[in-house]
Every structure is written in structure tokens, then in C-alpha cells.
Amino acid sequence: MLFFQFQKPTPTIILNLTEQSVETLAPDAASLKAGKALSNAAGWVTISYNQRVLWGEIKGSGSKPYRTQIDLQNIAFKCTCPSFKFPCKHGLGLMLAFAKQKEAFTQTDDEPDWVKEWIEKRTQKAEAKSEAPKENTSADEEKAKKSKEKRQNERLSQVEGGVAELRLWLKDLIRTGLIQLPTKERRFFEQTAARMIDAKASGLAGRVRTLRDLDYIQNDDWQRKALEITAELFLLLEAFKNLDSLPPLWQLSVKNLIGWSQSPKELLQNPEAERIKDIWMVLGQHQEEAEGIIIQRNWLLGTATDRTALILNFGTPFSPLENTILPGTIIEAELVFFPAVVPQRATLGVQKGFVSELSFELNFCDGWHEVYTKRSQLLRQFPFINDVSFVIENLRLVVENQQPILCDQEGFFHPIVPPWEETKLLNLMAFSGFQPVTMAGVYRQNGFLPLGIFQHNKYILL
């Protein structure tokens, strides 16, 4: 569990790491286990830290000890060991040792040269990243512009082809009736999804796959869900058909849903992008794998602006996630938001470091009625909105026929998103003791995904 006070501001304390938050950085279970074995401060030859960096030396199988360093401002690891895992067991071990036995570390601003060198490089790199791109000559610019336009037009025509095909597929489906869906083989959906991937419309492929993944055997609710998915998808295709007539932000949002990706690098270099400086609470993290891609979602809440944000990280089995956000921590940072009708997705801009104690007032929802109302307002702005994070007061966990639900004080309830990890459910039981608690989580169409609870001036990550 992660604990921090949120009443008294004490900016001198830079970091309050806990083992649980560090564990989220582990690339796999084996690395975590190995890291834990190295988490005893006594096993390190040297261990030191300051506001910016944490470093240590540990004896390995080589003749010289391995040098491990961690950038605490923008979480990053470096180690001289030959491991290809990232972070390696030494990085995890050092950070776990810091979380457990901070008193065993020497606090010093006198960094050794090998640490200074790395930090300087990182600072330079970060500065270069946020700077505007180098100015090209007008001829180069013209050439690049033409080439970009050509690529965009090619892609647009590819997507249009895919969209036309999918419209036909959906119409056929509805003409012959959804009743046939349970008898369809996986291939029926997969072929269409693959065609959408070929047409560079991965967002549409994902929606076709949600239709494939419905539980057609155990649950009759598939009938309602199948119609909802089909109708929503058709509406999205209609929106794309009328793309030119939509306002620019709508065009962007619709294209994102279809499958156009957004580059955080380009966003950071865009001077017009919306930037919000705040002290952000990382309410929670959720990771899932779909079609070989690992998607990590981090939900943040601005403590001064009351703004919510979603930071996505992507990885594959061959290129692990670049994990720079620790759930349950508070960071002072500038977030840069991707332009959208309802801007939610953001990327981390300038990060100043961690805050361990903080005083702030959050605008909590007082029950499900308010959550539903707020969501309706968002739907009015953009009907395709799905995940929205909320902090709700006085929610009580109830388990009815093995299905966990959350009841508010007015007697309204909302189910917890299935399937929810059993350990998280048990954690919620243990910390709440079935009493009403203030809970942060994500509202989804099929249920609420709890992320953490506020209790006795602490935020406890579930």
C-alpha cells in the first residue's frame, strides 16, 4: 500500500517511495524477485541519494562492482550490469532498498563523476526534447510538407476503403440479424479486423474484436452489448464519412478513434498544445495486453486544477514499457494534453520531482447520482467517451452473489468492473472494513474500476 499525508505541505521532503509503487516498475516477476533479493541496504557497497538522483554500487559476478543509478526526477535507470532487462534487478533492488531503508542511504549533493555525467546528459536530452524542431530551409520544408500530405492522402484513401467495407459488413450483420453471432467462428470477426488493420484503421479493428470477445455462452447480456457495439461503431463510421464537415477538434478525435496515432514527441514540440502545471496525484495504473501490445494506463488528478488526465504507455514483449510514472505518488509536473473534444490523454512534460506531503481540497462526487450526471454532460460533449476518472465519497463495498458492487450513501450502486483482481478486492475489504470510504476510480460502461481509497489522510492504492 502507498501512504502519504495530504494535509501539511512539506516541500523539503522529496520522495516517499513505497515497495508497492516500486514493484510496478518491474519488467517481470523474475526481475522483481531478484530485485527483492538485492533490496537489503547492507548488501550494497555504497548507497547515496540527493533530490535528483539515487545511486549505488554492488558486487556482481564481474571484477568491478556494478554501478546503478536512478533519476528520481524523471524516473530512469542506468546500470553497468550486462542485463537486457529494464530496469535490471540492481535498479529495482536499489529502489526497493531506498523505499524500505532510506535511513541507510547517505544524503549528499556531492555526486561521483559517473553520476554527474549521466544526469547532465539526461538534462541536455530533456531540454532538446522540449525545444522547437530545427528550422529547415524553405525548399526542405516544402518537400517535407508535400511528402507528408501525400502520405496523409494515401492513408485517408486506405481508411476510406476500410470504412466502406466495414459499413457493408455491419449492414449485412443487422440485415440478417445479430442472433447468428453466437454461431460465428472466431475467423468471421478476425478476417474483418485484419482487413481494418490492413486499411490502417486499428481503432476499428479493436471495436470489431470487442464484438468477437463477447461472452455468447454464459451470459444473455451479449444481445444488448452486441447491439450497442454495432450501433456505436456505425455512428463512428458515419462521423468519419462526414469528417470534412466536422470542427477540427472533432476531426482529430474521430480520427484517433479510427486509428490515427498521436505522437507524444510531436506534441511536446507543439507550442500551441495545452500545458497544465500542477501537482498531480497518480491515482492508479492499469495494464492490459491486447493482440501482443501492452497498454499501460495511468490516471492522474490535478490537485489545484481538479483536472483529470490519462497517460498511456505502450510496450510489446520485445520492447518493454518505458515506465516513468509510479502509481500512488504525487508529482509536480507539467502535463501536455493531446488536442481532443474532451482532452483526457496527456504526456509528461517537465517533471520537477515527487511531493510526499500536500494539502489540497478535492472536488469529490458525493455519490453515483453525481457521477452519472457528470458523465452525461461529457457524453453530450463527445458521445464516444468511455473511461472517466472520479473521486467519490462514502462508497461501501458489498458482495452480492460473488459480484462486488459499490453502494453510496443514498442507496444507489454501481458494479465493480469484471473481472477485477481478487487481491485488489480483498485489499479493499481489508482497508475499508466494509465501511464507507472515499474512493478514486474509473467509470467504464461495464463497471467502475477502483484505483485507490483516501483514508486517515492517506491515499491507499488498491
Binding site: K36, K171, A226, L227, A231, E232, V398, F431, F434, Q435
Partner: protein, 532 residues
């Protein structure tokens, strides 16, 4: 409306159509402003519109069930977070070492009357299924009422439920009653006997035997009255049940343990005629007229040494193996040697303990089996030493028994004796011997023995290139003197005389690292005082 739309979608627009007039007027108007090319497109647009319309106006459902109980008051206060959090570190220790540390941790919390913190509750509940059942009562004591609610969600808690003490004796299963009776025998043996007497007549033969076994394992002289009363209940009858004879045998064994019992006296009287005084055969004996006393057993049944008496009085059967016991009398003597306090024999043989021992280990109690002389009473003498915890006898026997028979004697000898004996016999790394010496105890080894065993283990692993059993490492984590860790450190840093990486890494993996970890953890657990 939505149900009808779903119905249409399921059957398909080819078979069924949906009448837009069923929609609210505002939706009809909106739909009208977005014309479609075909009926499928029109239907899908309409379905999307209705879906979002419903989503926007959705209100949360109301809960009509029963809210769970909230326990405002707990059974005890919460343990200090650092003590509670030690669980996480214990879980990460290899399972070989874990249960001992868990025992220490649970016992500390229970002694402090504290509950674990919520942060560890889930870890404990998840760990529970991997733990032996003996931990269940301890788990229940440290999780409190809230913890019990969680446990009930995770596991079938009903199978954990034990009857309250006041009901166990009346309504419990034999296994529960046996545990209850054993525990009561440890705290109040007399009360246990009184309780047993209240239900004795209703007990089955099997249950009676079970409780007599508990009494035998925790015998007290105050049990004699009860045993004398019940002995007659199991008197010999032709075609008696096996349990009948077994109960009689247990009671006879117990009565013979006390020299004040009538049964002992009666047995003593019966045996006296068989102690015969003879003139010594040696030169000195002839010169000084010295006499010796020996036991003369009949070669065939007589008034005492006969099948009927032995079976009806003592529950002894006839000799099972004629090769070992040439006569029944010899076998029954072996049974009596196991059963009577050993002091009986020196008294009547007019010998000291060593002489008596020597007497029983020599002719005429030697037989030749497969060309080897075998002292047929030796096993009975070892059993007697164990049963009566006769340290003098055990020490004397150690000098004469075979190597393999020594561990059974070491079990009753004091730890200090065992430590010296293991060093002297160069058996400090013999797992069977270590377990025999210390397995039943919770006392730590002396610093000297701790250093010795560490030194031996280090040399064995790194110099002689031998894989030591990791179970020796497990024993070390339990018994090593905490102050010997610095000695281990020095061993670790001293230059090893082997280049074999595997032996050194085995030593590190199974000895150095767990020893550090476990001794550190057990010291931290023990250092948590009640007020911490």
C-alpha cells in the same frame, strides 16, 4: 422501446422492422434530420441514437439487499506497522525456513494481544492455503473480526470452525476431543482425568484406548488411582477384542512405572524368586567368598512366566521371533525391561547401573544371528532410557550401543551434553544426529557450538567440495546463536580454498544468505516488546 429494438436487431431487418413512431418525439426529429440510404443504415443510426439517449439519461440502480456488518470495535489493538510488515519479509524467505519464522511472528503477536495491520491482512489470507493447518488457530487470533469477514470470502471458513472448549468434550469428534484432552493434560493433568471419568463409561473401546495413549504420553503418579480403577475393566476374556488387550497393556505399562502401585508390588513379588544368588566363579570370589546375583529364567512356562499370565496381566503376547528370543521368557523379560523403571534391576541384582547394564548386554542374553552376536535386550534398554528419560542410563548406553542407535538416546540428553558429544564424535554435520539432539527443543546453540558447526560447514562446502544438505542450513537458521553471525561474516570473507563456483554458490545460497536473513528476522521479531 429498447427491448423492441434489440428484438429487431436479433432477428434482422429483413424479417422485422422497427416503427420510429415508438421513439420519443425529440428522437424522431433528430433521426429525421439524418436521412439514410437504406433501412439497415437507418436502423443502426436509430439504435445508436437511442443508446446514447439512454446513456445520457441513465440513473444509477438502487440497492435493495442487506449491507454487510461493520465492526466498529476490534478484538485487540493493531500491532505496530513494522512488526506487522515483517510478514512480507517472512513470505519472501524460502519455504524451508518460512514456517519457523511464521511461528515466531504469530507467537509474538498473540503474546502481545495484537492484530495485524490491514496492509498485511490480504497477504496472510492469500498465504493461508499454502500453510499447514496447524497455523489456522494462530491466524484466527491475529486477524480480528474484519479479517474473519475477508477470510470467509476467500475460503470455506466453516471447515475451520472449532467447537468452543465447553462443548468440545461433549460434542466434538475424537480428533478434537483428543487435542483438547492432550492440552488439558499439559496444563492440569488431574482435571483432565476428572473430566475423562465423567464420560468414561460412555466412551467406546477405541476412544478409551486413544485417551489412555494420551495419559501414557503424559504420565503422572497421580494417574495411578484412576488406572488401578480401570485396569479390571480390561481383564482378560477368551476371544477378547484387540482393543481390550491393548488397553490392558497400556494400563499395565503405566502401573509398572510407579513402584508404589499395587500392580508393581505384585510384579516385584512374582519376579523375586528368579533372582538367584551364586558363588562367584573368579579367583577373587573364591578367595573372599563373594557372591553374585543373577536372573534365572525358566526354559519353559512356569507359574509366572507363562502365556496366560503374561497376556492376562500385562497384555504381552508370545515371542514373535524365535531366532531372536529363543524362549518366551526372554521376550517377556525384554518387555518388562522396557516397562519397569530401570532402578528395579540394580536393586535386585545388587549391582550398580553400569554393571546391571553390562549384565543385560552379556551372556545369557546374547544370541548368534547370521554369525554375529546380538544383545537381545539392547533395544529394550534403549526404549527404557527414552521412556523414563533416564539420562544416566542413556549416557551409559551411549558407550556400548552401535553408531546408528546413538541418535535415539541423544534425544533425551541435555543440549550441552549433545553439543560436546557431537563435537567429540565429529558428527556436528550429521543431520540425523542434529535432529535427534535439538529437533524437539527451542533453545539456541551455545556460541562455541555455533562457531564450530559454521566452521565445519564452511570447510565441508568450500574445501572438501561437498554439497551439504540444505536441511542443515534450515537447522542452523533455527538454532544458531545470533551472536555468531559475525563469525559467519569472517568465514564469508576469508579466502576460499576451492575454485569450484557451484560449491561456493551452494554454500552462499543455502547457508550464508538464509542464515543472515532468518537470524536477522527472528531477532527483529523477538526484539518487539509489547509496548513497541
Amino acid at each position: 422501446m429498447w427491448e423492441q429494438i434489440i428484438h429487431t436487431a436479433l432477428l434482422g431487418t429483413d424479417k422485422l422492422s422497427f416503427d420510429d413512431k415508438l421513439l420519443p418525439e425529440t428522437l424522431q426529429q433528430t433521426l429525421g434530420s439524418f436521412p439514410s440510404d437504406d433501412k439497415e443504415g437507418h436502423f443502426l443510426k436509430m439504435a445508436a441514437l437511442v443508446h446514447f439517449y439512454q446513456q445520457s439519461g441513465k440513473i444509477p440502480p438502487r440497492f435493495t439487499g442487506t449491507l454487510p456488518t461493520v465492526f466498529e470495535e476490534e478484538t485487540h489493538v493493531l500491532a505496530p506497522p513494522k512488526l506487522s510488515a515483517l510478514l512480507q519479509e517472512i513470505i519472501e524467505v524460502h519455504t524451508y525456513y518460512r514456517n519457523h519464522l511464521l511461528d515466531l511472528w504469530f507467537d509474538k503477536l498473540i503474546a502481545n494481544e495484537q492484530l495485524i495491520q490491514p496492509a498485511q491482512l490480504v497477504s496472510l489470507v492469500m498465504l493461508e492455503s499454502a500453510l499447514p493447518q496447524k497455523f489456522r488457530p494462530k491466524i484466527l487470533k491475529v486477524i480480528g473480526k474484519k479479517g474473519l469477514q475477508i477470510l470467509a470470502y476467500k475460503t470455506n471458513i466453516e471447515s475451520w470452525q472449532t467447537l468452543p472448549d465447553e462443548l468440545v468434550w461433549q460434542e466434538g469428534k475424537l480428533s478434537e476431543r483428543r487435542v483438547f484432552f492432550t492440552n488439558l493434560r499439559q496444563t492440569n493433568p488431574q482435571k483432565a482425568i476428572e473430566l475423562l471419568q465423567t464420560t468414561w463409561t460412555q466412551e467406546s473401546l477405541g476412544d478409551k484406548k486413544a485417551f489412555l495413549e494420551v495419559i501414557e504420553a503424559s504420565f503422572q503418579p497421580s494417574d495411578i488411582a484412576f488406572l488401578e480403577d480401570t485396569y479390571s475393566e480390561f481383564q482378560f476374556t477368551p476371544k477378547e477384542r484387540k482393543g481390550q488387550k491393548e488397553c490392558r497393556a497400556i494400563i499395565a505399562r503405566l502401573l509398572l512405572r510407579d513402584s508404589n502401585s499395587a500392580f508393581f508390588q505384585q510384579t516385584q513379588q512374582s519376579l523375586l524368586p528368579y533372582f538367584e544368588t551364586e558363588k562367584g566363579k573368579g579367583l577373587l570370589s573364591l578367595a573372599f567368598g563373594l557372591k553374585t546375583i543373577s536372573l534365572k529364567l525358566p526354559s519353559s512356562d512356569d507359574a509366572f512366566w507363562n502365556t496366560e499370565t503374561m497376556l492376562s496381566s500385562y497384555g504381552f503376547e508370545a515371542a514373535p521371533d524365535a531366532a531372536i528370543f529363543p524362549t518366551n521368557a526372554l521376550y517377556w523379560l525384554a518387555c518388562l525391561i522396557e516397562t519397569l523403571p530401570f532402578e528395579f534391576w540394580p536393586t535386585h541384582l545388587a549391582k550398580n547401573l553400569e554393571e546391571s547394564l553390562q549384565y543385560f548386554l552379556s551372556e545369557p542374553f546374547i544370541v548368534k544371528i547370521e554369525k554375529q552376536n546380538r544383545a537381545i535386550l539392547k533395544t529394550s534398554l534403549i526404549t527404557n532410557a527414552q521412556k523414563f528419560k533416564n539420562i544416566a542410563l542413556a549416557e551409559a548406553l551411549l558407550k556400548v550401543v552401535d553408531f546408528n542407535e546413538q541418535p535415539s538416546l541423544l534425544t533425551i540428553l541435555p543440549a550441552s551434553f549433545c553439543e560436546n558429544y557431537l563435537i567429540q564424535q565429529k558428527q556436528a554435520l550429521n543431520l540425523a544426529w542434529l535432529e535427534a539432539c535439538f529437533g524437539h527443543s527451542s533453545t539456541k546453540w551455545s556460541i562455541e557450538f555455533s562457531h564450530h558447526i559454521l566452521q565445519e560447514a564452511f570447510l565441508e562446502s568450500t574445501t572438501k567440495n561437498k554439497y551439504l544438505s540444505e536441511h542443515i542450513g534450515v537447522m542452523m537458521t533455527r538454532y544458531l546463536h545470533p551472536a555468531s553471525l559475525s563469525f559467519l561474516e569472517n568465514l564469508k570473507t576469508s579466502p576460499t580454498q576451492t575454485n569450484n563456483y557451484y560449491y561456493v554458490s551452494h554454500w552462499e545460497k543455502w547457508f550464508v544468505n538464509p542464515l543472515h536473513r532468518c537470524i536477522d528476522l527472528s531477532t527483529r521479531i523477538e526484539n518487539f516488546a509489547h509496548q513497541d
